[in-house]
């Protein structure tokens, strides 16, 4: 059975058909890459799945239940958590404070003006857990806005883990990172998928990463589904080479 299923889902913005009707299904435990040239509709796809805006047509279901018109916060409570192409964190807070807000949200404490010692300990334990998973322990008391771009993106993924996602959507997690940061992030993603069993969809432009870690690859082009398959199938697909890989080589 698939964890996530899209059937004939499309999205238009006025006259622009950002995503043509497409169907997609993701199996539990999968590490799926979404690739495609700029403007292909990758982020739009994430916005639809995460409830940022509703589809113009089609249905989306998650774990067998329809989620087409569900609000973002309700989707988060069901386990669909995302990061953004432009990093979204709490910039003037420290890493610890970022993790704490996430932990408190995950524990449903957001409206509590006081909490017991035991609950506080639970929150702090969660913060430590996130610090460990993201390996940001030594930087817990740094202000996020003063950290490197790469570290900020790691913080965002850390935040996203506060609720133990069932489906994690990462929009260009390595964008703008140096080599070392990129390999750290790649490791992180692989660990989350293989060790924690989290189903992950990630948008990525770096083909070395895509072919290196993804179980399956979905290729979008110009708002349409161009191809889907294993790394071997995708790299051998002439339409993909023409529309996407060729274009990237020309650009490079």
């Amino acid at each position: 059975m698939s964890l996530l299923k899209l059937e004939n889902v499309s999205r238009r913005f006025g006259a622009l058909q950002a995503l043509k009707p497409l169907s997609l299904s993701v199996a539990p435990g999968e590490l799926r890459a979404i690739i495609g040239p700029n403007g292909a509709g990758k982020t739009t796809l994430f916005n639809l799945i995460s409830g940022f805006f509703p589809p113009s047509s089609g249905t989306i279901s998650f774990a067998g239940e329809p989620i087409t018109a569900v609000t973002p916060s309700a989707l988060v409570r069901r386990g669909i958590i995302r990061t953004f192409q432009i990093t979204q964190v709490f910039l003037s807070l420290t890493v610890r404070e970022n993790f704490r807000v996430a932990a408190e949200a995950a524990l449903g404490l957001q409206l509590r003006p006081w909490i017991s010692r035991a609950t506080r300990a639970q929150v702090e334990a969660k913060v430590e857990e996130l610090a460990e998973m993201s390996r940001l322990g030594p930087k817990l008391d740094r202000t996020v806005g003063e950290m490197s771009h790469g570290d900020q993106r790691v913080v965002e993924v850390g935040i996203a883990l506060s609720r133990r996602p069932r489906l994690l959507l990462l929009d260009e997690p390595t964008a703008g990172m140096g080599d070392e940061e990129t390999s750290h992030m790649t490791d992180f993603i692989r660990r989350l998928n293989k060790d924690q069993g989290i189903t992950i969809l990630f948008v990525e432009h770096d083909m070395a990463i895509v072919f290196g870690i993804a179980d399956r690859i979905t290729v979008l082009d110009n708002g349409a589904l161009l191809a889907e398959g294993s790394a071997a199938e995708i790299s051998a697909n002439p339409r993909v080479q023409e529309a996407y890989l060729g274009a990237a080589e020309n650009a490079a």
Binding site: S73, F90, L91, A105, Q110, L111, W114, I115
Partner: protein, 311 residues
């Protein structure tokens, strides 16, 4: 740590106000007024500085508190605690009811709609002559004696100052507690990045609503005390000029610090008292002070000192 020491000095100075203020040419009611404005601005700052909602209509809740207290004394019972409670609850409930109507607006629209509701209450107060005394304001009440252990104790300026100081301490304690709780962390998260918070599963609007309601309650409490200080509730207590003053006070003192609104209120009230005794145009001088403060201390006066201390 130098912070607790500084706070202790402030509290001691506040406790001793009736002794040292007259020596400096001040009078106790002036300090009482500064504390009342500090309470109102501290309440507003929960919304403004910590949640990031620029309300230009918080005088509405302050004014409702004032009218609530006065009307309760006139029509219900000659009881000071009841009057304070009535004013606080009246303004607080108005905040609870108006919160859902403003919480979805962003940026300038949020400010505009808060002004609009503020002016609505202003016009109700002006028009509803029979109840509110219209433009002349509500009079005919004063601080009645308080029953303490079977004695009727009259609250003169000094005793009333201590009552207000006690309320101020209580409000500071409540705010301090909120800011270290998940509720307060949520407020700050709204200010920092509402999108991220929403995609962590938090109902951002509800968080804003709660901040709005709490700040309205605190502003109303201050308004009730103000009516008891002056024996008077006026439409000006509800108007946008006063709302603007509360914002100025927060920005002047520093919006990222719990003591900022207090510092801003002290400066504002002292400057107002001094300047209005020498010129009718005191407001333009306050404006000048504000402009200079924003130019040289963009984080507010306390923000600046905190920055320096952390270097």
């Amino acid at each position: 740590m130098r912070r607790p020491l500084a706070a202790a000095c402030i509290w001691i100075a506040l406790l001793a106000v009736p002794f040292w203020l007259p020596l400096m040419g001040g009078y106790t009611d002036l300090a009482t007024r500064a504390l009342i404005y500090a309470i109102a601005a501290s309440g507003l700052n929960l919304l403004l500085g910590y949640t990031g909602g620029l309300s230009f209509g918080h005088a509405a809740y302050f004014g409702l508190g004032a009218y609530g207290a006065g009307l309760c004394l006139i029509h219900v019972a000659p009881s000071l605690p009841l009057a304070i409670l009535a004013g606080t609850v009246l303004g607080g409930i108005a905040g609870i009811l108006i919160g859902p109507l403003v919480m979805r607006r962003k940026g300038i629209y949020f400010s505009m709609i808060t002004i609009a509701f503020g002016q609505m209450f202003y016009f109700i107060a002006v028009r509803w002559n029979g109840l509110t005394g219209g433009e002349d304001g509500l009079t005919g009440f004063s601080r009645v004696p308080v029953q303490i252990g079977g004695h009727a104790v009259m609250l003169g300026p000094e005793r009333f100052y201590y009552l207000v100081l006690a309320v101020f301490a209580l409000v500071m304690a409540v705010i301090w507690q909120i800011l270290r709780s998940p509720l307060g962390h949520g407020f700050v998260a709204v200010r920092e990045n509402p999108t991220r918070l929403r995609f962590l599963g938090v109902a951002v609007e509800r968080q804003i609503w709660v901040a709005f309601a709490i700040s309205a309650f605190i502003a109303a409490l201050a308004g009730a005390l103000n009516a008891l200080l002056t024996g008077f509730a006026s439409p000006d207590n509800l108007g946008w000029q006063l709302s603007g003053s509360f914002v100025v006070i927060c920005v002047l003192g520093g919006m990222r610090s719990v003591w900022g609104p207090f510092l801003g209120a002290a400066i504002f009230i002292v400057a107002q008292d001094y300047l209005s005794s020498i010129t009718q145009n005191w407001m333009s001088f306050i404006g000048l002070i504000f402009i200079l403060a924003v130019l040289f201390f963009p984080q507010g006066l306390l923000g600046f000192s905190r920055l320096k201390a952390s270097r």
